[in-house]
Symmetry: C2
Amino acid sequence: MASERQSQPLAMTASETATKSSTVPSSIDRTLVEKLVRIAGNPPIDIQLWDGSKCVYEDGPARNTMEFKNRSAFYDVLKSREIGFGDRYSDGSIEVHGDLVEFLCEIYESQRKANQNQSFQLKLLGNLTRKKAKDNTLDGSKSNIHHHYDLGNEFYTLWLDREAMQYTCAYFARPDYSIEQAQAAKMEHVCRKLMLKPGQSVVEAGCGWGGLARYMARNYGVKVKSYNISHEQIVYAQERAQIEGLSDQVEYIEDDYRNISGEFDVFVSVGMLEHVGKQNYQVLGSVVDRCLSKDGMALVHSIGRNVPELMSAWIEKRIFPGAYPPTIREMMDIVEPCNFSVLDIENLRLHYAETLRHWLARYNENEDKVRSMFDEQFVRAWRLYLSGSIAAFLVGSLQLFQMVFTRGSNNDVPRTREHLYPMSDQI
Amino acid sequence: MASERQSQPLAMTASETATKSSTVPSSIDRTLVEKLVRIAGNPPIDIQLWDGSKCVYEDGPARNTMEFKNRSAFYDVLKSREIGFGDRYSDGSIEVHGDLVEFLCEIYESQRKANQNQSFQLKLLGNLTRKKAKDNTLDGSKSNIHHHYDLGNEFYTLWLDREAMQYTCAYFARPDYSIEQAQAAKMEHVCRKLMLKPGQSVVEAGCGWGGLARYMARNYGVKVKSYNISHEQIVYAQERAQIEGLSDQVEYIEDDYRNISGEFDVFVSVGMLEHVGKQNYQVLGSVVDRCLSKDGMALVHSIGRNVPELMSAWIEKRIFPGAYPPTIREMMDIVEPCNFSVLDIENLRLHYAETLRHWLARYNENEDKVRSMFDEQFVRAWRLYLSGSIAAFLVGSLQLFQMVFTRGSNNDVPRTREHLYPMSDQI
């Protein structure tokens, strides 16, 4: 697995490194550094070049410094911004001195302001020229999901919560919750939104390591069928259900959500929509329409956006192929064609920043283990991915939407949301 | 006012009534009745014709009967469905025996099912051929709003809640609330969603009789500027603020929301969006963008739809010219272009059905007074409008959305919605 990852070209030959690194920056180099700073919206950072010289933030002092350890790293950033930065940070030719999350927040913020001034045409061009991941066809999805989720359960065990292996936004009903408590609170929040009753049948699209399904079965006495196309996750989920004595209540199925069959009282999908691709939202809606009982309740939980935007090119290329976080408008493609009625949308953006902070802290503690499983480049890439995600939620470029919906004709709906609050102390 | 209303043609001459009513239905008439029943999706109702003969619901017995008192009423319904029914019910040539709300639910339900089978082209044609009300330009809005809201405060006093004259969806935090309690709970719910703090400045777009502004000033110690283009409402609101000693905290301004100026901590609009017209949602968003402080909170409360659909032609013609209830997708035109972040959307559909039930009960109690202010035709038209609205919310053809949003960069947002619950007993 690790070697497959390394084989992806982080383009710089050994000779290049040798020659370019030793070169003193030319006046053209320095002009281009200034240009890059301008394009990036003049972020409050210092830039250190490969000879040790600095391009200092003019309204300084800056709190963070980006160091280009060789010229080619600089040119890669100039050439293909996000991918250049991501890849060269990963291979160590870019270093950030200071606080990586804060640095990324500063970059995103100034980039956002610069983008506001960028013409619509330029943005469109950027989106059109993006090299595409595999489409989320049945086969494409399998390949895209395998890339990320089949890295080995052992790897994820190092930094996710220890109870339920939830790789989605937690719910910090109280700010001092541990990640274990916050993930339990998230599952509880979802169950309450769905008004689960003992004996009901639930179908889950995209179940990760199956924690939510087991939580529902254990705490609400429901029967759950959970679909997932990640082989490693399904194997883990089945084992855990066995150990916890829930095998007769929870069934994990290694199959695509498009192949869901049967009728259920509840449909739930937490953290799958990001991988569905917006061209498939209608299909997802028709799956819910096909499988939901007359007065059934449904919940979709997904990373989202305030305005449509592609995933960071680097994240899409190296971390999450085929991923796309939708706007609320785009999510309406799931519900509108089937005349579903949206009952509730909650934005949990800052909960995801907090969740990621917990993950990153554990990840950093376990860096040596990650290095022994993969290599230094992988360690740095995932540190960047987790840090960048914190920054994206903090500056508001990513959102987290929980949407509850039901059939338009269903009058058996909760009148208020009082039943969701408060979260119990026992979480 | 009343005479202006009467002057609108409810086309039937006296001679027509005399000749047609006495005519025995022909075989063509009977064939057309069957056709109408088929087009309407075969609703579970009996139809009584002008000679007393009945066309009985085939899967009967039906609980409700629609009586055509003359042939022309029948032909008007056949010709221009909603308008025909509304106008001829109003002038008394159509009578509904049984329960009017239940009857309308049955009609809407079967119509909805029939529409699902109707081709997209046919629906589009229906929408395109609709005669338009005045556009919601500055002048057009004034004329449209005058038509409905300037019927005289005395009229609305007869059937709205007696405390705050709220002509928008109430919030039945408990099912046994009186309409006065439920309207207070609605205002409290809105204030909590907006996290009002003493000393803050609030701008309100569309304030009705000003009840919410006074509630906010009295209970939260904020300063409110409220805009409204209905002259009668503004006069009433100002008098009430004076009487309640709130004149230095609340300012009512007779002007269009597009002319709002200044900067405010909070933007609120309850029940105005229905009259804004979807071509103006971006304008509304830019007004919020212009007037909202850096970390300000905003709330828009509006009747809505699950899928795009024009307002009932009769409601639009006789009751609410220029009105349009948006889908969530369409509401995104308010927030997306300005990079606002949606924090919360709540659907209060069944609360509006309940609110309307309270209004209709009081309206029916005061029928004689309404008749003396206007005439029988007006009494029947408004009975139909209130009953039809109950039915529309009950069958799910109308929704009620409360949307909270803020700037995308604002991190000073509530982490949970626990502060909204429970509603105090003192309401």
